[in-house]
Amino acid sequence: MSAFFSGLLHPLVIPAHLLALLALGLLIGRQRATLPPCVGFVTALAAGLTGIALAIAETAALDVLLAATALAGVLLALARPLPTLLSTALAAVMGIALGLDSPPEAISLAAANATLVGTGLGACLVLVLVAAAARCLTRGLQRIGMRIVGSWFAASAILVLALRFARGLMF
């Protein structure tokens, strides 16, 4: 059971994952159609976690996730309505990247699987909660605040990508 809860909290305590979920959640919450990107995210996340469960080779998931977070932040700052296809594609990319960047630190197979299930559930919960919160923020100042926060997300993600590149950590 502790493995499951460990996985549940995983997306919340890994800064890059939390940043990505907040950016994507706020972006989805600002769109007219929220269901397709949410479904895209959940499906892709499940695929990514399955990939990890099948022990696929190391990928550039974190770099892709950070790049997508930067894009989501910029789109949030621009505050323009997105085509559903674009928001769904972005959510799917972030979902699969987040899943592939969540390898569990478990000794047994059962514990590893429980951690992965927890991670998936935790990420989906955070995304849905943030998107729901974003939908409630409809006043002028609240919308402006989200645009400013979007620029912060983008700036943070861009800086991290540069740091990873400079330190030779990029895949």
């Binding site: 460990s6 305590v13 800064p15 890059a16 943070s156 991290v160």
Partner: protein
């Protein structure tokens, strides 16, 4: 409590609970240590602090849409400057550029200058490159990259918001004088920074 607020309260509670726990994970990121380091970094540079506050003050003085556009432009362009600094691309006159940002932005507030929005954004963006470069070049090598960057950007944004909050005084005649005087103080401080940088 209004039922429409429930998702926000739930999300905030979840985040707080999660940050209070330490689950096993394959990553080495630390939201607390790295974040605090990055958050403190811009706050301990008086030349950065006055320029950030000046951006907020000027935005408040210019009114909408500059009041929110300038704090959006600044971090995005600052990140570009940060990338240049992190990659070690040479940029001459960084300290002079930072001092000039305090002088110019302070003077804009002092003189209650209201240029076109594009000019204001370009000016703020140009100075943001110098601030981003300095911060990028000074990043400690062992810092947790994501948390550090988030803390750094959030601190910068909060300094803007401080300027915006103070700038709200400009709604009243006496407050307008106080805001313009604050611009003068920032410009004066910029002259001191420039003298120190040369």
């Amino acid at each position: 409590m209004n039922h429409r607020r429930h998702p926000i309260a739930l999300a905030a509670t979840s985040l707080l609970l999660a940050l209070a726990c330490t689950p096993a994970a394959a990553h080495t990121g630390s939201m607390r240590g790295g974040f605090l380091g990055g958050f403190a970094h811009p706050l301990f540079g008086p030349d950065h602090v006055v320029a950030m506050v000046a951006v907020g003050l000027w935005g408040a003085f210019l009114g909408p849409p500059a009041i929110w556009l300038l704090p959006i432009v600044f971090p995005l362009v600052m990140a570009f400057g940060g990338v240049i600094g992190i990659l070690g691309v040479p940029l001459p006159g960084v300290e002079i550029g930072i001092a000039l940002s305090a002088i110019v932005l302070g003077l804009m507030v002092l003189l209650a200058a209201k240029p076109p929005l594009a000019v204001a954004a370009a000016l703020v963006g140009a100075f943001a490159i110098f601030h981003g470069y300095a911060h990028g070049a000074e990043l400690p090598p062992g810092a947790d990259a994501v948390a550090y960057s988030v803390g750094f950007v959030v601190a910068t944004g909060l300094l803007h918001l401080t300027g915006i909050a103070f700038g709200q005084l400009a709604r009243w005649p006496a407050g307008r004088i106080a805001v313009r005087a604050a611009g003068g103080v920032i410009a004066f401080a910029g002259v001191a920074f420039l003298a120190a940088a040369r």
